[in-house]
């Protein structure tokens, strides 16, 4: 005697999965925004912690520290912003940093914030290096991954409800 196996509700599951697939890029973008926020906050915190000493020219074979004005410029530049999201296929990516922070004014001179951030992070032949961006990235990596995973899970759950 032939048995008949009937599964009900398959259409709904298929429809739900299709809905989730269509929303994948949106979900990724929302989660990425939160994750990038964590990284940007950590970089801003790092910038506040840059050690400084009043400006003087590097002389006598010694290097100089960043000046307080340079640090304040990085802190106030709306720095460590999140770049425009780039969408390719099903993936979304962005970058965090001083690339879009524009120009800042230091003692009446206008300079790009990104150049100052770079000089402090990597050092120059006359400025001591303080790798605050690299430190912040290492610190924020785990937390950003965690935040992104949580956001994706909650958004997918919402769609599948």
């Amino acid at each position: 005697m032939p048995y008949t196996l009937k599964v009900e509700g398959m259409e709904e599951i298929t429809a739900m999965l299709a809905k989730a697939e269509g929303a994948a890029q949106g979900i990724a973008a929302l989660a990425l925004y939160d994750g990038a926020g964590v990284v940007a906050d950590e970089i801003s915190r790092g910038a506040r912690g840059i050690s400084t000493s009043p400006f003087r020219y590097a002389a006598g074979g010694r290097m100089r520290d960043p000046s307080p004005e340079e640090r304040d410029a990085l802190v106030s530049a709306g720095a460590a912003g999140i770049a425009k999201f780039r969408k390719t296929g099903n993936s979304v990516d962005t970058s965090v940093g001083y690339g879009r922070s524009g120009y800042v004014s230091i003692n009446g001179k206008t300079k790009p914030a990104a150049v100052i951030a770079n000089a402090i992070n990597s050092g120059t032949s006359f400025m001591k290096k303080q790798p605050f961006i690299r430190k912040a990235l290492n610190k924020a990596k785990d937390q950003a991954t965690e935040v992104i995973t949580q956001k994706v899970t909650s958004l997918v759950e919402e769609i599948l409800k």
Partner: protein, 110 residues
């Protein structure tokens, strides 16, 4: 001190480029390299103890003009000590001094 790092420093000092360790303060005038560990990049914990640690550090090379032979020397040493655990992080040209500054970032286990 991580053995990989000690090896790296010894090998860099054996090259023809003058290399110094932890020379935060000294101002380079011409060809000059600095190598240092900077911070702990991550650690593995077990039984409330650190089982393994990863340190991040950098190699800075200042040159008058871009000398590919010197760049190849440093990258050769890095590749020998820890292949795949380093990257070029930054290349800068300084208008005022005319120096080219290469920065490599590496991670070693300690």
């Amino acid at each position: 001190m991580p053995t990989d790092y000690t090896t790296l420093v010894t090998k860099l000092k054996n090259t023809t480029i003058p290399f110094a360790e932890y020379a935060w303060d000294k101002r380079p005038g011409g060809d000059y390299g600095v190598v240092a560990l900077e911070f702990e990049a991550g650690a593995l914990h077990g039984d409330d103890k650190k089982v393994a640690r990863a340190f991040e550090g950098s190699v800075d090379l200042f040159m008058k003009g871009r000398d590919t032979a010197k760049i190849a020397t440093v990258e050769g040493v890095l590749a020998e000590v820890c292949d795949g655990c380093w990257r070029v992080n930054n290349i800068q040209y300084e208008n005022e001094t005319g120096l080219i500054h290469y920065e490599w970032v590496f991670q070693v286990e300690g």
